[in-house]
Amino acid sequence: MDKRGQVTIFIIIGIAIIAIGVLIYAFYPQIQSLIKPGSKNPAAFMQTCLEDEIEDTVEILSLQGGSVNPEHFILYDNEKVEYLCYTNEYYLTCVVQQPMLKSHIETEIENEIAEEIDICFEDLKDSYEKQGYDVSLTKGNTTVELLPEKIMTTLTNELALTRGDTERYETFRIVLNNNLYELIGIANSILSWESNYGEAEPLIYMGIYPYLEVEKIKQLDDTKVYILTNINTGDKFQFASRSLPFPPGY
């Protein structure tokens, strides 16, 4: 191959690399913001930095009955599905095992993302310092709230960016679109039926909430795995209950 040919190839490769870089820069604002957090969007930076972690955490605990590491669970479809109501005695209704389910899930999310929050704030700080800002960061509290159609994470870390003027940020909100709030409301109702009567009828819920699909899958030991799915969004919450079990025999 002659030298002209080699040069042509290098030029083509160079153009391709530049084109890919431009495309990534243009079409991936998230990447863009990670590379260069704008001076006016630390909130966007935090949203981008944390939303995947929150989403992953929510997905895990949604499939595991509301706990990242379930203590007592049944293996269903390779998932550890936590018992939210349980009895080991035949012919008895179950005892609710997680009475404050919503709070428990909020706490689980808070704990699970705590480390990532610190990392994100450090990244944020570093990136601004590299841009010549004098950065002051004071650690605050993290609260996660399950709201209708949303999961809102509020960070009260104080951030001050100084380069001439000083910009202050006191609250960061990360909002994730999710129906966990609604699904937990249904789950609590089902648990109330399970603990009072030993059984809940999925059809009742599906009749009231057209967007909802409720599956009740009875296992061999009379454990029931409930799978609640929002058919519009695909959001899912599943949990297990063992109530009023009948033995094989007496």
Partner: protein
């Protein structure tokens, strides 16, 4: 005179039910982390145990309500410590008795749901809106109705010097006004929108954006899904009224006042939907239709194309329940029992049953086989989903026709345990219980031998045989299947003094039957060629044969004649003796015995009747590893054996000489060549306990 008698002892599976209480106390928390469980003490977390049952403890006895005071959430049937360990407040009251836990209708934006006041207040605070709580509304549907009464209309505003229109709530429009005046808050973030600069937002209640003079938004044939209905969209992609193909035309000359009004004011749908529909968007989810993108030829789609891209799709299911190769149609919400292998298909509700059900279920080799399980199939949203009933056939699937072929199925508890509490035919075959009556042996082995007690002479067993986990080493099934498994029956057989008592195998079955004195039905072929009803009458009175003499039949005339050996002793089995044959008569008086009851009702009249009864009863009790399972894997051969032993008995019924154990039945297979006092046939089965015993008695 030598008289050789043989006695037969039979054994089949008999089940005695015992409830094992292994609980040693109440664990407030187990080492596995469960709360309030009755269990053995070694499974208790340290410091959380009590030696009494949970029902007797103070901490687990009465479930109270756990209150999340900060958020207003209340959970019933929770226990003190588990609640407080999670930061809640526990009250020993029902949720209904706690003021803070009373729910009302909480209206947030255009949605509404039942919440406690504190929950609603928290939500309103999160959304930075005024709380709208209706404590007087406790009903879910009434509350939902409020979500649709929110005032809606056209919100017209200017943005970047352009007039815009959005079809939204009045509240939303007011918020635009507040945003335009710089008062935007967290709500804009929560609803996923961005702060925007708008001017002069004006709300036109009840009008659509296509109302004349409001904006540049114009009518269009575009549609979209909103909830479960199809809506028109205008050219600004704002919602208009429910899609109705009669309300739109491309030909301007064909527009009527009604059509123009339909694109000016908010109106209720004027068309109705009943099945897949390309012309009307008023789908009803509970009625079996919902909005869907139009996909030609797909299941549930209308045959013609709609104006826009969306139609009312039929949510019916098409599923081959009966496995005949053709899919049947089931409506949305309809359910039917699955035809799962080894179960009885399509059991009707109690009040709709006829005799055929009981008759069919007598075929214990076909229905309720080990491993089988009932399933309900639920049609929902176009998909037929199987819902298993309880395992071990603790539930069966029952179904009913609600009218016009619309089926409703449900898993119903199979209360087979209750059958064993019933001791008479009438109660056992009552429609309200799923049991069946097997005439013959009773569970207490009482034998009344009287016609008046006929309806109590039998066993009440489950109509749907339950499943047991007999393959588990620690299973209760072993006790259930084996305790009292030996059912022994004694046959007294008299042999002519010239006969060889050691060669039973040379004895003709018919002759043995003819010379039988007691419990003759256990002799193979006994009563062959005669009906049970005939034999019943024969034994109890007529003495008349269809033709010929007794020697022509495998039948004994002498059976059923009893005398009291000791006149002064009560009429018990021990005091009974077969009468002496004098000519054609049986006479107690000839032996100076008391003729107390010459003819008594027999448990069984033929060999087949006896064998079928025993097998029916044993197999109906549950799964003990005997029956073939639902995929036709055979049961254990050694589990259903009928074995015999011949023994010579002396005049006082004492054993004079033992014969060998012989197997005459394995499962449903009869093995010929038995009745041998000299040696067994099945050397490899020697270790199996005999279930029949033949005794030879010398008189």
């Amino acid at each position: 005179m030598n008289k050789n008698y043989f006695m037969i002892g039979i054994g089949m599976v008999f089940i005695v039910f015992t409830i094992f209480f292994v609980s040693a106390g109440c664990c407030e928390k187990t080492i596995d982390g469960f709360w309030c469980q009755d269990t053995t003490l070694d499974l208790c977390d340290t410091g959380f145990l009590s030696t009494t049952s949970c029902a007797q403890t103070t901490f687990c006895t009465s479930a109270g309500t756990c209150i999340d005071s900060a958020k207003g959430a209340c959970t019933e049937n929770s226990y003190k410590l588990e609640c407080e360990s999670g930061g809640g407040t526990w009250e020993n009251k029902s949720k209904n008795d706690i003021a803070m836990c009373q729910e009302g209708c909480c209206i947030i934006g255009d949605s509404a749901d039942l919440r406690t006041y504190v929950e609603c207040k928290q939500l309103a605070s999160d959304y930075e809106i005024e709380i709208n709580f209706r404590g007087d509304i406790k009903n879910q549907n009434s509350c939902f109705d409020l979500s649709y009464v929110t005032e809606k209309g056209a919100c017209v505003y200017e943005k970047d010097y352009v007039t815009n229109c959005e079809f939204i709530t009045k509240e939303g429009c007011l918020q635009k006004q507040s945003v335009s005046s710089g008062e935007g808050g967290v709500i804009s973030n929560l609803i996923g929108g961005e702060s925007e600069t708008v001017e002069r937002a004006t709300f036109h209640s009840g009008l659509l954006c296509t109302a004349p003079g409001l904006s540049d938004c114009a009518v269009s044939s575009k549609t979209t899904c909103e909830g479960d209905q199809v809506y028109f969209l205008d050219t600004c992609y704002q919602l208009a009224n429910v899609y109705d193909s009669r309300m739109y035309t491309e030909n301007e000359n064909q527009w009527t006042k009604e059509m123009r009004d339909y694109w000016t004011y908010i109106k209720e749908p004027t068309c109705t939907v009943d099945g897949p529909d390309a012309d009307c968007g008023a789908c009803e989810f509970l009625g079996g239709t919902t909005c869907s993108a139009y996909r030609r030829g797909e299941q549930g789609m209308p045959s013609q194309k709609p104006l826009g891209d969306y139609v009312c799709k039929d949510l019916a299911c098409y599923y081959d329940v009966d496995n005949d190769g053709t899919k049947e149609k089931y409506e949305h919400g309809e359910s039917v029992c699955a035809e799962s292998e080894g179960t009885y298909f399509h059991i009707p509700l109690v009040e709709e049953r006829d005799e055929n059900l009981r008759k069919d279920l007598e075929d214990i080799t076909k229905y309720n086989l080990p491993g089988s399980r009932y399933y309900k199939l639920q049609c929902w949203n176009g998909e037929m989903k199987p819902q298993p009933c309880r395992s071990y056939r603790n539930e069966v699937c029952e179904e009913t026709d609600l009218g016009s072929g619309y089926m409703m199925a449900s898993c119903v508890v199979n209360d087979w345990r209750g059958c064993f509490e019933i001791a008479n035919k009438e109660d056992c075959e009552d429609d309200v219980v799923d049991c069946k009556w097997i005439p013959g042996y009773r569970f207490d082995y009482e034998n009344f031998k009287k016609r008046d007690y006929k309806d109590e002479q039998g066993s009440c067993v489950p109509l749907y045989a339950p499943g047991f986990d007999f393959w588990e080493p620690e299973s209760d099934a072993h006790a259930l299947c084996s305790i009292n498994s030996l059912v022994q029956e004694n046959v007294v057989y008299e042999q002519h003094f010239m006969g060889n008592r050691n060669k039973f195998k040379d004895t003709d079955t018919k002759d043995a039957a003819h010379r039988c004195l007691e419990n003759c039905y256990a002799i193979p072929d006994y009563g062959k060629d005669l009906t049970v009803s005939f034999l019943e009458e024969f034994q109890l009175g007529s003495d008349k044969l269809p033709s010929g003499t007794l020697g022509d039949y495998s039948l004994s005339k002498r059976e059923g004649y009893y005398c009291l050996k000791d006149r002064n002793e009560p009429d018990t089995v021990d005091n009974l003796k077969v009468g002496l044959e004098v000519g054609d008569e049986i006479q107690c008086a000839a032996r100076n015995w008391l003729d107390v009851d010459r003819r008594r009702v027999k448990l069984f009249y033929t060999y087949d009747q006896w064998l079928n009864s025993v097998k029916q009863r044993a197999k109906s009790l549950g799964d003990c590893g005997v029956k073939d399972n639902f995929v036709e894997t055979p049961g254990q051969d050694g589990s259903e054996l009928i074995t015999v032993i011949f023994q010579k008995l002396d005049q006082d019924l004492g054993v004079k000489e033992n014969g060998t154990i012989e197997t005459i039945w394995i499962g449903d297979k009869r093995i010929d060549g038995y009745r041998n006092i000299d040696g067994g046939l099945e050397e490899d089965l020697e270790n199996i306990e005999p279930s029949w015993k033949y005794y030879e008695i010398e008189e």
